[in-house]
């Protein structure tokens, strides 16, 4: 085995595992109550219009100072032209302390110190932006399970049945019979090379958005299970 792989597996052995979790952004119902604090200036939902502050429909994915019909502070305009977009994570930082995130914003609000309040109000606001079912590129509505510390999956390590199940995601694009027009074949690929390649996608050293996305949510054990499964097909 190459040294890189040895290092990689020893790190793996030390990983402390916790319970797997698929995470919603927060509780929109609770967020609606938090939004009462914002309502004096901002409208959201059907028929929302700009008031003291801009309306918040379609907020997710919008650049800061992104509404033509609203006059923003210089500070927010600058942030927008230097690339700030509103997503769950930027909103979280902004709402914690608006004045320190964008000094000079006209939003005279102390901020929401409680992370839970912020998550809930963000989950509530997310309801009024594009739905990924209709606009697939719209912002996520949940955060990924942290697959690297996923105990349930670690517990089934090396399970060839699990490798087979996981491989069904690959065969949507990669032909099981090894055909390679347009999309490379992954059949009969040496196990160690497979592991290195998947790890390189996961860490974004190899450049392909689909593979980065797919590999990004496979933990090290899952990659190993897949490698073992594909390898077992040769014999």
């Amino acid at each position: 085995m190459v040294p890189f792989l040895r290092l990689y597996f020893s790190v793996l052995a030390m990983t402390v595992s916790t319970v797997a979790a698929a995470n919603t952004l927060g509780d929109p119902e609770a967020g609606k109550k938090v939004f009462a604090k914002c309502k004096g200036c901002h409208q959201v939902g059907e028929g929302a219009r700009n008031r003291i502050g801009p309306h918040l429909n379609g907020l997710f994915g919008r650049p800061a100072a992104g509404l033509k019909e609203f006059t923003y502070s210089k500070s927010i305009q600058r942030a927008g032209s230097s690339g700030l977009e509103w997503h769950a994570e930027t909103l979280d930082a902004f709402l914690e302390n608006p004045r320190s995130y964008a000094s000079g914003t006209r939003m005279s609000f102390r901020g929401l110190k409680s992370p839970e309040d912020r998550h809930n109000v963000i989950a509530y606001l997310r309801l009024f932006s594009d739905d990924p079912a209709n606009i697939p590129e719209a912002d996520p509505t949940a955060t990924a399970t942290d697959h690297d510390i996923d105990q349930a999956i670690l517990a089934i390590q090396g399970d060839p049945e699990y490798g087979a199940y996981l491989s069904s995601e690959c065969t949507t694009c990669h032909q099981a019979d090894g055909g390679d027009a347009g999309i490379p074949s992954i059949v009969l690929w040496p196990e160690d090379e497979f592991v290195v390649a998947m790890h390189a996608y996961k860490t974004k050293q190899r450049n392909h958005p689909v593979m980065q996305m797919i590999a990004g949510r496979l933990n090290d054990e899952e990659i190993a299970a897949l490698a073992a499964y594909f390898n077992s097909l040769d014999n």
Binding site: V19, A20, A21, A22, N23, T24, L25, G26, D27, G61, E85, H87, A88, E89, P115, H119, D130, D131, P132, A133, N134, I135, P136, E137, A138, D139, P140, T141, A142, T143, A144, T145, A152, I153, A155, I156, D159, E161, Y162, Y165, L166, S168, E169, T171, T172, C173, H174, Q175, A176, G179, D180, A181, G182, I183, P209, V210, M213, I214, G216, R217
Partner: protein, 421 residues
Amino acid sequence: MKMNRRIFLGKTAVATAAVAAPMVLADGHAKPRVVVVGGGAGGATAARYIAKDSKGEIDVTLIEPTRTYYTCFFSNLYLGGFKEIEDIGHSYGGLAAGGVNVVHDWAVGVDRDAKTVSLAGGGNVKYDKLILSPGIDFVDMAVPGWDISAQNAMPHAYKAGSQTELLKAQLMAMPEGGTFAMVAPTNPYRCPPGPYERVSMVAHYLKANNPTAKIIVADPKPKFSKMALFQEGWANHYEGMIDWIGEDFGGGNVSVDPAAMTVTIDGEETKVDVCNVIPAMKAGRIAEIAGVTDGNWAPVNAADMSTKADPDIYVLGDASQQGDMPKSGFSANSQAKVCANAVRGALTGSKVFPAKFSNTCWSLIETNDGVKVGATYEATPEKIAKVDGFISQTGESADLRKATYEESEGWYSGITADMFG
């Protein structure tokens, strides 16, 4: 648009691999029975995976009326002249060889107490688990003036096959400098970028064969998937040919007259040569007949695609209401594998692994100018939720766009082999 990869942790739900206890079977039949209705992207995949992975332990029957399934995916490429109709047709021989009992008939009824599906040709099929993947039907009178009896004058071509061939023939017969109109659908509908890929492919055909012709699109939506990419492509490749009229300009205020071949958009009537009406959609009728729909679609549990209405009936693909996944062939195929794993677990006690879903939609704008949008999804207690994603960027190099198109060709071979064996 830039996508954010990590957000933060909020409410949590635990996902684990579970070993299911096999369910008790009806009437002492030796083997558990799965009936799948609809042999498309969802149904064919589910039938194939259950038969393949249960290694004969489960009886799998697939009910599908047509002998050749024409994929909607790549049907726009057929309109553009990049594919022949045979290239997108698939038969069910591979599934039959793989142990699936393929019955060419319509399912017309579901008796949930007796657990039987009745067929148009007569007779009933018993099930322990029923998987419905019937695709879509159209909402009546969604576009004033159009109903299904007008589909020859104004084709939808949103179920592939004869409708697609008809639209192509009408496109080819357009007079010089004529007008091609499209009435785009309201959300949600199958394949969010589909109508706009179609506009691109029609423009590609006209540019070569009828360059003074025009395309008008009446759209009830203010925006659509990959909008910036399509608009960039239309300006680069088909300048002045395409007039997209969105909601803001009255695109939703539309009616048609199939006899007169006119389209009226926001009060202005236009005589057109071809009119592609893509009406609002709902779940394929059999889902409603089975009583598992709520409104237009069938709500399902994200972890296994079982319906909220009946734990022994699963709905896949376009007909389901699952949350954030777009209605696409890729999504239906992805959901089918999660469902197959869960159904096998319930019937034979095999291991049930955590649900993982993904989708990528490629679109072709012009020769070798391919773009894509993709995402991964996970099951939360409420829905299938989007957790990560990407989209092609405007201004990408010609090489990258060509590679993206070639990838879509590879995907097509991959998914059709995955569905039909």
